[in-house]
Amino acid sequence: MNINKTAHVFFIVLTIGLLAFFPIKDKSADRLEIGEKAPLTDVEVTDVSGEVLTLEEVAGENGLLVNFSCNTCPWVEAWEDRYNPIAELAKNNNIGIIALNPNAAIRDDGESMEDMKERAESSNYQFYYALDKQARLAEAFGATRTPDIFLFNSDMELVYTGAIDDNAKSAEEVEQTFLKNAIENLVAENEIDPNTTKALGCTIKWPE
């Protein structure tokens, strides 16, 4: 009876152990999906100017553009020459725009508010650049990298997310201006296609 019981327990333990080694599905990030509402729109963030803002306040009549960005990522640097033209396009179409810096783990290593102020000045940012304290907004949006784009309509529903365009390194060699098209189609009330794109970027440096 005891041998039987021991063997039974051994079998169960062995089976559970083996289950741990079965293949698992790729882990997916909990990212906002098209049609979902912007989260935490009432959370206050501080801009490099010292102004305290919420996403609700930044949003324009036709929507809101959020760009998770930072100071230390070469991909941001590569795309940065398109930041101001996009900001101008957004503003001209009554879409509010803000860049948020989520790199909470390396605030002492190039991502502090002081560093952000310097970056905004040296790159002549024509849009809000605010600190996403403890990366709360990035986490709620399901952002993963910098730069990472989220475009919302006037109801604050996500209509486009992903990349600025299809060529980080060279604005001249861009073949598909994803974000520009999305903004123009949003305002013209046309379908946005594609509404989701991907590009390489730096991982967000999440707080410990």
Binding site: H8, T144, R145, T203
Partner: protein, 175 residues
């Protein structure tokens, strides 16, 4: 009667584990003089490289870049694990550096004493990302581990410690 049934099940399970562990295809790939350390590759070509190990080795794919701090931090762990499991696992490094940093990437590989073929991402981001994993957002570093039969055992964005890599390699080898 019940006791015999349980013992029989145990024997079956142990037999399965032992057989999957001994059925190891061995094919060490190191660079020869004719093979560059850093070969250009598209997403489609990468899939062919990965498929070439199917049935022989588990595969650890790691997308990295010289400017990516977590990539640089974890890189030596992966090199060490390639040496430790060289007969059972193939590490496929892909540099996602910009073209003007290619030499820097090559220097880093030499510094890390990498002596097998690695790859340099070419072409557009999106098809490359999608060729590797539909759930990868594009953030670096990215790691994906496949069992010998090509099943995904684990994949993740962000850097990792030695233990995470090794634990998942072990899972890949048992699958």
């Amino acid at each position: 009667m019940m006791g015999n049934s349980v013992v029989f099940k145990c024997i079956l399970v142990i037999g399965f584990v032992v057989s999957t562990n001994v059925a190891v295809g061995v094919a060490q790939t190191t660079t020869s003089d004719s093979d560059p350390l850093l070969q250009d590759i598209t997403g489609e070509e990468l899939q062919q490289v990965i498929n070439s190990y199917k049935g022989e080795k588990a595969v650890l794919i790691n997308v990295w870049a010289t400017w990516c701090a977590p990539c640089i931090d974890e890189f030596p762990y992966i090199v060490e694990l390639q040496r430790k499991y060289q007969d059972e696992v193939q590490v496929v490094f892909i540099s996602a550096d910009f073209p003007d940093s290619r030499d820097r990437a090559k220097d880093f590989l030499k510094e890390q004493e990498v002596d097998w073929t690695t790859y340099f991402k070419t072409g557009k981001d999106q098809p490359f990302i999608e060729a590797l994993s539909e759930n990868w957002s594009g953030a670096l570093p990215f790691t994906k581990i496949l069992s010998r039969d090509g099943q995904v055992v684990a994949s993740w964005e962000q850097g990792a410690e030695y233990e995470k890599f090794e634990n998942n390699i072990k899972k890949a080898l048992i699958n």
